[in-house]
Symmetry: C2
Subunit: 482 residues, 2 copies
């Protein structure tokens, strides 16, 4: 709890209307995409980097934890103020400051919504590839904090590949300006890359310079159905072996297809073990269509029972509908879900999908899997009902088994969601003690009081973080990982 004096000091910095401390107001800052709730002591909505700096300088002196917040769509529990403290919500810092065509980049405030940014740059013939599924709500600052990805990342890379410059307010309130409108920069350590994906534990990003690409003029999409999972996986490898780097290469397993079909009645065959959604983009209509035809041929040669190539934008939209509807479909299947984000080497995708199926059977849980087959980044979603006695323990066991299966296949815990609260107890197992110690040393150097997003990413002693997290899980409303 903050004292009235402390609240007044915050009011003096950002104006009384931007300091929120009434319990009813704090609800909006108490959850994220994983849904458990814990209110902060206070939420502050600053308008400028200077205000963020002043708030953080004050919080640092007073020993108040700071939890940076964008759209609140984190799927790792990264944005929940589990220990109370001050939520610094950057939603008012939502200006696109500049779209620079000469230098093909943009300067944005951290609170700009990803989807709004994409629409804006595309309307000007430019392109910002990272496209997390939450793009209608998530902010570019949050994307930087988590190094967000999306279906276009095999060809185009993730958020870290687009950040040219950052303004970061440090724990002390000091302001770091790094980079510029520069496509190459090796002047000292690459500090931007240290803050990208640091989940608000090293500083609060307020301003970003993002590289843009020319907008590809055409795109073409296909979906392929595979009676055998292994044939889908072999097709993914086969496409790359043809010399093709597709814009999208998404996979849905049988359980996911079934759940989506049951919900939407799209006419998807539910007797196949997998489907692949394939897309290519480029500037030359013929070249793009030929590559999609070549990908379709690879799929047929590897045992696809059917390949549908979209003939126009409407058909293309239809093909994407299944992928985009997973979210809503899963939400209707069982009252709760735990969405994971494991990564394995591409060649291990079939082994991983099979292992998840086995884990589901072992723990008596339905675990649909979908994700980015080209990247090896899979989203197993453990569906459950907490009111069923013992189910919570089984979810915990299944989640741990999935993490360990990914690690044993040469993979890791998270590809685009972050560690957050959900996976922190597995961090050392994933990265090893040497890496963890370096991470702790960096954290201590930049945040000596440990005030930035406490209890996130780093394992904390005492009990299972996943268990306490799951226990706090309410019935979900339909968000799903991207």
């Amino acid at each position: 709890m903050l004292t009235e004096t402390q609240l007044n000091q915050l009011r003096a910095i950002v104006g009384p209307q931007n300091v929120h401390s009434a319990p009813a107001e704090l609800i909006a800052y108490s959850y994220d995409g994983t849904h458990p709730q814990h209110p902060p002591d206070v939420a502050v909505t600053p308008a400028t980097t200077e205000e963020v700096s002043a708030v953080m300088r004050f919080a640092y002196q007073e020993g108040i934890p700071i939890i940076g917040r964008g759209g609140g769509t984190s799927l790792s529990g990264g944005a929940i103020p589990l220990t109370g403290g001050l939520v610094l919500a950057l939603t008012r810092m939502n200006r696109i400051l500049e779209i620079d065509h000469v230098n093909t980049c943009a300067v944005v405030e951290a609170g700009v919504i990803n989807g709004e940014f994409q629409a804006r740059v595309e309307s000007e013939g430019l392109f910002y590839p990272p496209d997390p599924s939450s793009l209608a709500q998530c902010t570019l600052g949050g994307n930087v904090a988590c190094c967000a990805g999306g279906p276009r990342c095999l060809k185009y890379g993730v958020t870290k590949d687009y950040v040219l410059g950052l303004t970061v307010v440090l724990a002390s309130g000091e302001v770091l300006e790094w980079g510029g409108k520069l496509f190459k920069n090796v002047t000292g350590y690459n500090l931007a890359q240290l803050f990208i994906g640091s989940e608000g534990t090293l500083g609060v990003v307020t301003r970003i310079i993002l590289r843009l690409l020319p907008l590809p003029k055409v795109r073409s999409t296909a979906v392929a159905f595979f009676p055998k999972l292994d044939d889908a996986a072999a097709s993914v490898v086969g496409v790359m072996a043809e010399g093709i780097l597709p814009a999208t290469l998404e996979i849905m397993d049988q359980a996911t297809i079934s759940v989506v079909e049951q919900y939407l009645h799209l006419g998807l065959p539910t007797d196949v073990e997998a489907l692949l959604l394939l897309e290519q983009d480029g500037n030359d209509q013929g070249a793009v269509e030929r590559e999609v035809a070549a990908m379709a041929e690879v799929c047929r040669k590897h045992g696809a029972s059917e390949v549908r190539v979209a003939k126009d934008a409407a058909e293309r939209n239809d093909l994407w509908r299944a992928r985009r509807s997973i979210s809503g479909a899963l939400g209707r299947y069982r009252p709760s879900k735990l969405g994971e984000d494991i990564v394995v080497p591409r060649g291990q995708v079939p082994a991983m999908v099979r292992r998840i199926k086995e884990i589901g059977q072992e723990y008596g849980l339905s675990i649909p899997v979908f994700g980015h087959a080209g990247d090896g980044n899979l989203h197993p979603n453990i569906l459950f009902d907490m009111r069923v006695p013992g189910e919570l323990e089984r979810v915990q066991g299944a989640a741990a088994a999935i993490f360990r299966a990914a690690l044993s296949l040469g993979g890791t815990l998270t590809g685009e969601h972050g560690v957050g609260s959900l996976k922190k107890e597995f961090l050392e197992e994933a990265v090893g003690p040497v890496a963890l110690q370096i991470m702790r040393d960096i954290k201590s150097a930049l945040d000596p009081k440990g005030l930035l997003n406490p209890g996130k990413m780093f394992p904390t002693p005492g009990g299972s973080a996943l268990e306490s997290f799951l226990t706090a899980l309410p019935t979900l409303e339909g968000l799903t990982p991207g």
Copy 2:
């Protein structure tokens, strides 16, 4: 100087034949691409990560500085053992351990030569884009240490965009394993990105997992001559505005063209202010040729006096000859040169080139400029003769003026060569005190004794580092920045 006991301990680790301490042997480890020489006390050529670890553990205990070394082609004085100590040369660790087609990546030891690696993966239909001009000599480990670039980086990115995993031996001898055959990974801080470009000041990289792309099936090249520099720059912007992201977009200014023409007699027009070398690659012959034709048209529309499009591989080779010959040509022009590596926003390229010309006139020096116009990464080369009284001081003044001009245009010191010894006194001016302090904090956390590549990157008190560097500069033999 190491004692005989210390030398024997090193011999016990790597074998006597891999400990080099005779003055004649040490010459090979005393210089880099910038040519000043300073021998180490000892050079060690280990064969495994375990040996590197044992050597570094020993050196850490004994307080001996460690200078990691690859091909010794650094253009920033980054590899010169200015303070003596132990050079850890990874040239024997030169095995390509695996080319993995399923996961489109390779596992290599740090001492593998970039050019040999490129040839090998291309022979298997794969592609590793980063292509520094020193690729015939430089190692992939050195490329990681400096985040090397090259002419293909506008479209394809630099070294940091290809590193999926790293094995790094830390100052203490501990071994960090980070990442894997994983295209996405946000499990904790991205430590790989911290080591990439850290110039051997945080650890010694011994093993790398590199992402590969499918090899583009076709490429097409053109060269355009511009009577006016501004028209060349406008063409660069115009190409991107057409929605084209070219594989290469290189610029040479009038002084560079003249020097090259004088040396090679290629028939280049020496009355133009600039030429652009343009290239596109892809999988579709027609699409690639149409994009090159579109780029040629943009150049003509913006005032190119002539555009030559290569009709076949032989003609393509001819067009690249001018670019590839800059090195030799400059070396023949005056006995010494100082090659710089500044970056400015793409739109500031003409202003920067003009400013360099003015600086050359001001200081009475010839400073040809060439580089990566699409990236804004320029290589001004200050040509001089140290025997001319006062010329050294003028070179120093001109170099500082170039750095400051780049900074004042929103640019920075180095795009792909690193800070090394040459630019360290300008680091704080470039990144600011807050960034410098974070860099120092990270350095202290990872190398508390300050034993890794001492005297590099970070400014050191007392006198001009550039001056002492230039004073040590012998007559050059022909290397030039890429």
